[in-house]
Subunit: 208 residues, 2 copies
Amino acid sequence: MITNKNCIIRLSRYKNALYRLRDLGFVKVFSDNLADAIGVTASQVRKDFSLFGITGNRKGGYEIASLLEKLGGILGKDRIERVIIAGAGHLAYALMHYRGFEKEGIKIEAAFDIDPLKFAKNAQIPVLPMEEMKDFVVSNNIKVGVLAVPEVGAQRAADTMFAAGIKGILNFAPLRLKAPNDCAINNVNLEIELENLVYFVNVLEKKG
Amino acid sequence: MITNKNCIIRLSRYKNALYRLRDLGFVKVFSDNLADAIGVTASQVRKDFSLFGITGNRKGGYEIASLLEKLGGILGKDRIERVIIAGAGHLAYALMHYRGFEKEGIKIEAAFDIDPLKFAKNAQIPVLPMEEMKDFVVSNNIKVGVLAVPEVGAQRAADTMFAAGIKGILNFAPLRLKAPNDCAINNVNLEIELENLVYFVNVLEKKG
DNA sequence: TAGATTGTTAATCGATTAACAATC
DNA sequence: TAGATTGTTAATCGATTAACAATC
């Protein structure tokens, strides 16, 4: 099993580029075209495919439909992925209303909060008490969650998620979560992203 | 100038860990402690510091206050960084209300949209017409922006930002922006983050 | 001083790229 | 066939880690 995160991210990007090519009516693609589309080398594309046993036709390139099917299989896109959110603040609200997930087969099933004022049991995407998470996650067999609570409650909310059976967390809280070995964490730290951007803007300014 | 993004991200993490140590009353720190705090090796810490000419005391470790000052200087934390947002949807709203930015010296000054229903010229963080971006950015000398509009309008909004003088964009739209050479782009792609998480959850499940 | 930690060089590791034989 | 593209191996590149002399 390949555990290089960058490689898996490239697979997602290939997939997105292939969707666009297919919608434009293309049927086949060369490693060179895909490389241009996502900004890597053709060697990289062929190497990535070869790591997953994806083969094309020498001289004929790759068939887009079959490539999409294989990439979808690897990335788990062969079924709808159901997701919950811990926290029902502004960020959770933004995620619940985000349109981009549906076409990717990602469905947000519910959000959970400790604040009774946030509860909305009958909303399209219900907001439920944190104590109900475990029942919900177990009975819906959900494996992936988003952590969108303030930093101060983040580890506690994460522990609730792990206890409920969540195996992967997309973490927006700006801290390093302690997690069981059999669980995956992806961090999105907006302060650090902006700080990083500021650094590179300053570098480019000095250069130019 | 160091242009390794991971290295700069580590500097941010060191800084955050150092804030916590300082608030706990610590005055000095060894490379080994910092390494544990952010999950890297002590060699990595010393190497990172050495790349930026940061030195400690042989035997005595590093003084936290002076380290924070130096890291702050490198990361541009010696002054408030003023930022605008293109788009005034749910995500922009979440960012405008996010509490984490203030302590990092990041201030969101305004958001811009094309929908007159969103305008709020007198709000604490005003929402202004997209056409006013250039004037606002120029007169406030803003260099960094967040792109939080739907995919379909993203490149156009980015071009507006570049034309206004923005040199760095934190991009939430799920596409590869075309940008001038002297501009920096950091991408946050939530679909890809979740897709990636699903992959690793599946890998861990098969392993276990 | 003896012991411990830095700063830096050298070794290792892993990922990317180049090259090219295989082949359609 | 001749030309072009794949699949894979070897070479390169860059980042991380180990090692250790310098030194407080």
